[in-house]
Symmetry: C2
Subunit: 892 residues, 2 copies
C-alpha cells in the first residue's frame, strides 16, 4: 500500500498541540480552542480530538468508522496516559476521561457529554486509593453510570434520580453531600440493576467498550431530532459533522481545595466590560449548570453587586483567582473577542477546560464590538463583523417580555418579526372598521391577497394558516414592518362560524391573542411586550458599516409611510415601488374595475383617465419624501383578475355598485381565471396587450416629476421599471411607449426631465439573454423572488406543503425564498451581470426581491458586483451591516 | 468621407447580373433568380433589385430611405434604358417597368405588384407610336392606372371595374377586346376622375413619382395586416424584409404573336414528371390568374388529357414551345428542383419573367424527391431535404375533402391534425356512454383535465374553448392521434343548457359538427373527409432519412395502443411513459383516491397495494409490445389534487362511493388546492414527501420486467425517470429508494435485472447544476414543455390570452411551446449537455417534450448532440425525416 494513512486524531496537552485555532472545520470549535490554549501555554488537561471528517465518513459509510481510526485512538490514549501518569482501565491508577462533542459552531444543549469515563467496579477501587478519597471515587462512579446510561444507553435520567431521592428519603438526607462512600456503593448496585432491567446489555465494565460507546453516542447525536431541528433553525449544513474531544478528567470535586466554574470575560447580556462568572467549591461542572446548588460569584465586585453573602473565588482562593484573571486577559487578547470559559481547580491546581467566543445578546454584541474597537483591541472594520446582521431585527421591533408567561396555541413561520397583540378578526373590512373605533386587532386569514391591504394596514399583526415565508402576507407584512406569523398549519379557520381552532382550543372573533413574528408562536391572551430603543453604540456601529460598504441600500416602499420609515433606517433610495398596491384603495378600485370590464380600448382609456390624477398624486408624495434619492417605479405587475371580486356575493356587490350586469362581471371573472397566475397574463404582458395602462402610469410618473420640479426647482430622476421581461422585443415595445409619453409630457410642460427605463430581471430567460436586453434596458433590478420561483419551478405560495420536509431532510440546506440559492439562481444572476455589462459597461444593477434583506444574499450581491440591494424598510439596517461585512470580508 | 457607400441596388439583364441565386436573403427569391437566370443566358427583361436591407433600414429609420438609395436607383434605371433602348418618361420611346416585391421566401398574394409603370398622358402617345398599336398603348395605360390606384393609392379596385362595366353596358360590349383605342381614352378620363374624386392627390403624371410610389407601396405592404398574418402562420420573422424588383416591361398583349403563361416543370399536385402549365394569347400575366378568360394548356399531351379544344402553345408556336421546354429543362437541371416559371412572348420573342422552386403538395414533394434521386439529378440525401417534415402530418390523418362545402362556426388553434366528425357531447362520461352504443362523438369542453382521458379516448375529436397548442387537450390529443381544435375563443359553452354558441349560431348536444385539427376550423354538420394512404415513395424517402440520421426517434406513449401505433410509424423505443394517465381508469381511480385521503403512511400503503398489480400489468403489456426497445417510465408527476373531484356534486359522489364523510373529502380537496399547480407539490416532490408512491411504482416496474424476463427469457431494460428534479439531493433520496426496491425484487425473484435511474431535466436549476445531478442520474431526458414554461415564466395553459399578440407583433418569432426557443431554453439545454457529460462522459440524453416532433427543434437536438428525441406516435415520421435532414445538413 503506497497510500498515506489519513490523520483522524489530533493530540493536545503539555504546552503543545497538533491542532490550532484555525482548524475549526476539522476539529470543531472546542477541539480547535483546546489545541490553541495548549499552544498558548494555558494549562489544559491533555487529550485528543477525533476529527469531524470521521463523522462525515461515518455517515457516508453506513455508520461505520474508517479502518485505521481505532489504532490512532489507541496511540492517542497512550499519549494522555504518559502525560498524566495514569493508565486507562488500570486498577491501580486509572486514567479517567471526558468525551464531548464539538461541532464547527457551538450548538449548546444539542450534543451530549460523558464524564468520568474509565470507571468500573475495579478501577473505582484504584481511584479511591490513588485519590485518597473513597467517597469522591464512588460519587464519580455513580455520576458516570448515570450519565452514560442516559446519554449512551438511552435510559431515562429520572429513573436514576428517583433511586437517589428514594435513598436519601430513607436515610433522611437533604443533600447529596451527606451520602457516605459506602452508601454510594449501595446506590451504585441499584443503578447497575436499573441498567440491567431497562436495557438489553448490562452496564459495560470494559473501559474500551465505554469509550467507543461514548464516541458512537456523540456521532449518533449529530443526527438526533433535536440536532436536526437546531441545524434547520440555524441554517447549519448536515455535512459539517461534529468532532469528538477525549480529554483527561480533572476534578473540581476532590474536596474544598477544588472547585469548578464558568465565566465570560465581559457581561454577555449588557456587554459591559466586567468579568461575569460563577463557580462552586467541591463540584463537577454539571453541578454549576444543574441549579441544585446556587453558584457563587467569581469576583468580589460581582459578589457585592449581587448582594451575596457566599464568598467569591477572589475571596476564597486569591492566588488562583489572580492566575485565572491573568488567563482570561491573555485569552481575550489572543482571540480578540469576549470569551466564554470553563475551568476546574483540582486540589489547588487550575485547569482550563474550554474557551470559545461567548454567545451574547444583540445589544451586548454591539456594545462589545464598539468598546473593543474604541479600546484598540480590534479595528472598526472588525467591529462591523462582530454583530450578526439578522440579529438587529429584534432591536427594531417590539419583542415579547421574556419573563411573561404564555400559552402557545400553535406555531407557524416567523414571517415578519416583532410581537403584536389584539382582538381576532377574520376579515380586512372588519379589521379596518374596528381599528377606526380604537380597537387593536390581529387579522387572521387562511391567506391574504392584495385585496386585504387595508386590513393588513389596520391590523397590529397578521396570522395566516397557509403560505410560506414569502407568501403575500409575509412579504407585505415585512414591507409594512407589521409582525406576521404565516403558515400556522394547526390553525383551522371557520369563516362561517367566525372562529379558529388550534388543537382543542377554540378562539372566537373578539378574543385576544398575541403573535410573535420572530419565533412564529401564536399565544392565547395578551402577553407583555418590550419597546425597542436604539443605542448610541448601534448608531456608531452602523456608521462604521456605512464607511466600509460599497453596496448602496435602498428600500422597497409602496407608500409614503414605508418611505419615511425606510429613510429613518438609512435607506438611500427606493429600489422597488410596486404600483399595484396603490390600485386597491377604496376610491380607485372602482375605476380599476371599470377599466378591466371595459369592452374597448377607448372605454379602458376613459377609466384610466380617472386613475391618472390619483396615481400622479402618489408619485408626487413619494418624490417629495425621497428628495434627490433615486426612485424605481415598477409598472403594474399582477394579473388583472386580482382586482376583481371572486365570490358570488362580492360579484353581485360590485355589479350593483358599478351599475353593470352581474353576468358581465361574472363572465369577465371567468374569462380572466388562470391556472397558474404566477406564470400568466401579468407583468410586461399586460403592457403589451393593454399598452394604455403602461402609458397612463408613465404619464403619472412624468407629470409628478414635472410638478415636483416646478415646486422644488429640481426634478427627481425617476427610474421606470418594466417587470417580467423575457425578451428584448417586449421591452422595446413598452419602452418606446414610455419614451413617447415622456416626450409628450415634456412638450406639454416645457420642463426637461431626466429618467431611465430599465427592467426587472426575474425570469431565467432574461438572465440568459441579458446582453440583448441590455441594449435597451438602462438598468437591471433582479427580482429574486420570481427568479427563484421559476429557476426552481416552485411557487412560493404552494411551497409550504413540502419545503419544510426538504430543509429538515437536508435536501435543501436553506429555504431558497429566505436566502438566495447561490448555486442555481446565483449562477443566473452572475450570467446576467456579465452579459448585461458586456453590452452596457458599468450598467446599474441591484436586487429588489425579499433577499435584499438577507445577510448571506447581501454578501452574494456584493461579490457579484451589484450596485445596490433593496429591501423592506425594517431590513434596511440589516442590509447596511451585511453590506459592510461583505466589503470588509472581501477586502480582508 | 472615407466610408464606402453601401450597395442597395443589384442589376441584371443582357446575359449577366450583379447578383446570383445564393443571394436570396439580400435580393429575395425573385430577385436572386432573375439574376441567376441572367447569368445562365436565359432571356430575362433587364432590371434591378432594391435589396431587402433597404426594407429593414426603412423600418429601422422611421420609414425613411438611406440617403444614397435614390442615386443608385437612377443609375440602374439608366442601365435598363441603355439595354432596352428606351427612356423612362420619354415621350417618344418610353421605357415601361414592372415593380414587384420579392421576399426571401415566396409569400403568394401577400405582396403587391404594379405593371406598365412609366405611362402618363404624354408617354402613352409615344408608346402608341413606337408599338404601332394605339389600342394596346391605351389599354396598357388604363391597366396601369387601375392597378396603381388600387395598390399604391389604396382606392377600391371595384370602382374601376364598375366604370369599365358601365361603359361596356352602354356600348353593348361583352368582352374587353371589343373596346377601341379611342374608347379606352374615354375610359382613362373617367379613371383619372375617379382617382381625383377619391384621393387627396390626382393620378401622378411624373414617372419618378410613380416609381417611388410603387416602391413605397411594396415596402409598406410588408407590414400590412395580410402579410403579418401570413408571416405569423408561416413563422417568418418580420426582420427579414422584402426586396423590390424593377424590370423592363415585356408585353404578352401586343397581338396574336404575343402570349403570357405560367408553368411547373412537374405536376405540383401529383409530382408526376409532366410539364404542367397554362397560357393565354395576347394577354398580360394578370389575365392568366384572374380567371376571366380560360387559360389554355401549354403542351399537346396536357391538352389531350384535359380534353380541351383550345389550341396548345405547342400547337400554336412550336418553335417558341421548343425554346421554352429547353429553358425549362435547363432551369430544372440547374436548380436541381421542380421550377415554377412565368414567361411572356412579346411579338414572337420569348422572355422569362420568373423562376423559383415550385410549391407542391406533400405527396408531390415526396414523389418528386424520390424520382429526382432515382433519375440521378439529386442524391438520396438531397431528396431527404426536399420534403418539409411537418407536412407529413397531413398524410397520416384523415383530411377534409377540399371539394366539400363547409360552414365555419369558429376557428381555434390547429392543435392535433386530422379531420373528425360526430355528435357534440359536453362530458367525458357521456362521450364514453355514447361511443359504447355506437355513436361517433366530438367532445366539447372549456378545457380538458386528466379526468377526461376516457372521454377523449372515446371521442373522434376534441374541441376546447380555452388553452393553447400545448394545453392538456392538445398534448393528449396529439399523443392519441385524435384530432383536436383547442382555444376556440368564439365558442361559448353553457354546460347547464348543454349547448355552445359561436357568434349567433347555437349548437346543442347531439348536433353534428366537424372539426379540422389541421386548420383549426370548427364546422357545422358533417363535412366529407379523405382517408390517408402511405405510398411506396413515402416509405423509400423515410428509409433514406433513417440511413442518414444519427438521432434515434422514440415515442411518448402511455398506453399499449399508443405504443403499437408508434412502432408502426418506426419508433425506436418509448422516451416517455407518463404513468399518471394509468391512474385515471375507472377501476383504479378509487384506490388512488383512497391513497390520497389516507391519514397515515400505513393507510396509504394499503391503498397502494391495491394499485400495484394493475400498474404491474400496464408495464408488462408495454414491455411485451416494445420487445428489446428501451422504455423510459416517468414516476407519478401531477399534483394529487388532479385525482380528486372538485364540484360539490362530484365530491358528494366520491364520498358516497368510498363510504367516507363528505366533509373529509372536501377538506382534503381544500387542503390540496394550489395557487400555481404547475409550480406546486408535484414531480419528485411527491416522491420526497410520499416515498411509498415511488416505491410502489418502482416495484411494479421491476416486477413487470421480471415477469417478462421469465416469459420471454430476456428481461427488458427499464429506464426509471424521476421528474422535476431541481437538486441532486432530491434525486439521491428517491434513487436510493428505487435501488432498494430493485434489490428487494431481485432478491425475491432470483432474477437479475438491468435498469437505469435517470431524471427529467425540466427546470432551469437542473440545467445549471447538471454536473452535480449527473453524478447520480444515469440519463437525462429534457422535458422541454416545463423547461419552456419556467424559463419564460409562462404557463402554457394561460398563454393563449397573450401569445397570439406576441407572435403577431413579432415580439416572439414563433410560439416557444411549438418550436423550441433556441436562444433561451436552448442555451440551458446546451449548458446541461456540456455539464452533464463533463461528469458522465457520453451520458445518454434525449428530449421528451412536445418539441420532439417539431422539425426545427429536432435539428437543434441533433446539433447539441442529444442521442434521441421522443414525440407523440403520429409525429414519429416527422421526427425521423427532420433528424435525417439535420444529419445531412450538418454534414453538407
Amino acid at each position: 500500500m503506497t497510500e498515506v494513512a489519513k490523520k483522524w486524531v489530533y493530540r493536545f496537552g503539555d504546552g503543545q498541540a497538533e491542532g490550532a485555532a484555525e482548524m475549526k472545520n476539522l476539529l470543531g470549535g472546542k477541539g480547535a480552542n483546546l489545541a490553541e490554549m495548549s499552544n498558548l501555554g494555558v494549562p489544559v488537561p491533555p487529550g485528543f480530538t477525533v476529527t469531524a471528517d470521521v463523522c462525515t465518513s461515518f455517515y457516508d459509510h453506513n455508520e461505520t468508522y474508517p479502518e485505521d481510526l481505532s489504532g490512532q485512538v489507541d496511540e492517542a490514549v497512550s499519549f494522555i496516559e504518559e502525560i498524566v501518569g495514569a493508565k486507562f482501565g488500570d486498577n491501580e491508577k486509572p486514567l479517567l476521561v471526558s468525551v464531548r462533542s464539538g461541532a464547527r459552531v457551538s450548538m449548546p444543549g444539542m450534543m451530549d457529554t460523558v464524564l468520568n469515563l474509565g470507571l468500573n467496579d475495579d478501577t473505582v477501587v484504584g481511584l479511591a486509593k490513588w485519590s485518597g478519597d473513597e467517597r469522591f471515587a464512588y460519587d464519580s462512579y455513580r455520576r458516570f453510570i448515570q450519565m452514560y446510561a442516559d446519554v449512551v444507553m438511552g435510559l431515562e435520567h429520572h429513573d436514576f434520580e428517583d433511586i437517589l431521592e428514594d435513598y436519601k428519603d430513607t436515610k433522611g438526607y437533604l443533600a447529596d453531600t451527606e451520602i457516605t462512600a459506602d452508601e454510594w456503593k449501595e446506590i451504585i448496585v441499584r443503578y447497575k440493576k436499573c441498567v440491567a432491567d431497562n436495557h438489553d446489555d448490562p452496564f459495560p465494565q470494559d473501559v474500551n467498550a465505554q469509550l467507543w460507546g461514548a464516541v458512537d453516542a456523540v456521532f449518533g447525536s449529530w443526527e438526533c431530532a433535536r440536532a436536526i431541528t437546531y441545524r434547520t433553525l440555524h441554517d447549519i449544513p448536515a455535512g459539517w459533522g461534529t468532532a469528538v474531544n477525549i480529554q483527561a478528567m480533572v476534578f473540581g470535586n476532590m474536596g474544598d481545595s477544588s472547585a469548578t466554574g464558568v465565566a465570560f470575560t465581559r457581561d454577555p447580556s449588557t456587554g459591559e466590560n466586567e468579568l461575569y462568572g460563577e463557580f462552586l467549591v467541591n463540584a463537577q461542572g454539571e453541578d454549576v449548570v444543574a441549579g441544585i446548588r446556587t453558584p457563587q460569584n467569581i469576583s468580589e465586585d460581582a459578589r457585592k453587586k449581587a448582594g451575596s453573602n457566599d464568598p467569591s473565588l477572589e475571596g476564597l482562593m486569591p492566588t488562583t483567582f489572580a492566575e485565572l484573571t491573568g488567563i482570561f486577559d491573555k485569552l481575550e487578547a489572543h482571540y480578540r473577542d469576549m470569551q466564554d470559559l470553563e475551568f476546574t481547580i483540582q486540589d489547588g491546581k487550575l485547569w482550563m477546560l474550554q474557551t470559545r467566543a461567548g454567545k451574547r445578546a444583540t445589544t451586548a454584541a454591539i456594545k462589545i464590538a464598539v468598546d473593543m474597537a474604541n479600546e484598540g483591541l480590534i479595528t472598526k472594520q472588525e467591529a462591523v463583523l462582530r454583530v450578526e446582521p439578522a440579529s438587529l431585527d429584534q432591536l427594531l421591533h417590539p419583542t415579547l417580555d421574556p419573563k411573561a408567561e404564555r400559552t402557545v396555541l400553535a406555531t407557524g413561520l416567523p414571517a415578519s418579526p416583532g410581537a403584536a397583540c389584539g382582538e381576532v378578526v377574520f376579515s380586512s373590512d372588519e379589521a379596518e372598521r374596528l381599528k377606526a373605533i380604537g380597537h387593536e386587532v390581529i387579522l387572521v386569514r387562511t391567506e391574504t391577497s392584495p385585496e386585504d391591504i387595508h386590513g393588513m394596514h389596520a391590523a397590529n399583526g397578521i396570522l395566516t394558516s397557509r403560505g410560506g415565508m414569502t407568501s403575500h402576507a409575509a412579504v407585505v407584512a415585512r414591507g409594512m414592518g407589521t409582525s406576521c406569523v404565516s403558515g400556522a398549519g394547526e390553525v383551522r379557520i371557520d369563516y362561517q362560524k367566525q372562529i379558529f381552532t388550534a388543537g382543542d382550543q377554540v378562539i372566537a372573533k373578539g378574543d385576544v391573542i398575541t403573535i410573535d413574528g420572530s419565533s412564529g408562536e401564536v399565544m392565547k391572551g395578551e402577553v407583555a411586550t418590550i419597546k425597542p430603543k436604539l443605542s448610541e453604540d448601534f448608531n456608531m456601529l452602523m456608521s462604521w458599516a456605512d464607511e466600509a460598504r460599497h453596496l448602496r441600500v435602498r428600500t422597497n416602499a409602496d407608500t409614503p409611510a414605508d418611505a419615511r420609515t425606510a429613510i429613518e433606517f438609512g435607506a438611500e433610495g427606493i429600489g422597488l415601488c410596486r404600483t399595484e398596491h396603490m390600485f386597491f384603495e377604496a376610491d380607485r378600485i372602482q375605476a380599476v374595475r371599470e377599466m378591466i370590464l371595459a369592452d374597448s380600448e377607448e372605454d379602458r382609456r376613459t377609466a384610466l383617465d380617472k386613475i391618472l390624477p390619483m396615481q400622479r398624486g402618489d408619485f408626487i408624495e413619494l418624490f417629495e419624501i425621497m428628495g434627490e434619492l433615486p426612485v424605481t417605479i415598477r409598472l403594474l405587475d399582477p394579473p388583472l383578475h386580482e382586482f376583481l371580486p371572486h365570490s358570488d356575493k362580492e360579484i353581485t356587490g360590485v355589479a350593483e355598485a358599478m351599475g353593470v350586469d352581474v353576468e358581465k362581471v361574472r363572465s369577465r371573472v371567468n374569462d380572466l381565471h388562470e391556472f397558474n397566475p404566477m406564470l400568466g397574463h401579468r407583468g410586461v404582458r399586460l403592457a403589451v396587450t393593454y399598452p394604455e395602462i403602461a402609458e397612463m402610469q408613465a404619464r403619472a410618473i412624468f407629470e409628478a416629476a414635472t410638478e415636483v420640479a416646478r415646486k422644488n426647482g429640481k426634478a427627481p430622476i425617476p427610474e421606470v421599471m418594466v417587470p417580467l421581461i423575457a425578451t428584448k422585443a417586449e421591452l422595446d415595445m413598452v419602452a418606446d411607449r414610455i419614451v413617447a409619453v415622456a416626450e409628450e409630457v415634456q412638450a406639454e410642460s416645457g420642463v426637461k426631465l431626466e429618467y431611465q427605463v430599465g427592467t426587472m430581471v426575474e425570469l431565467p430567460r432574461a438572465c440568459l439573454t441579458a446582453d440583448k436586453i441590455a441594449e435597451r434596458a438602462e438598468f437591471f433590478s433582479f427580482g429574486t423572488n420570481d427568479l427563484t420561483q421559476t429557476t426552481f419551478g416552485i411557487s412560493r405560495d404552494d411551497s409550504a406543503r413540502f419545503i419544510g420536509e426538504y430543509t429538515s431532510r437536508g435536501i435543501l440546506e436553506v429555504d431558497p425564498f429566505v436566502s438566495l440559492d447561490q448555486e442555481g439562481v446565483g449562477q443566473l444572476i452572475e450570467t446576467a451581470v456579465a452579459k448585461g455589462r458586456s453590452t452596457r459597461a458599468g450598467m446599474k444593477m441591484g436586487i429588489c426581491g425579499e433577499h435584499g434583506g438577507d445577510p448571506a444574499s447581501v454578501e452574494f450581491c456584493h461579490r457579484v458586483g451589484l450596485d445596490y440591494v433593496s429591501c423592506s424598510p425594517f431590513r434596511v439596517p440589516i442590509a447596511r451591516l451585511a453590506a459592510g461585512q461583505a466589503a470588509v470580508t472581501k477586502k480582508g
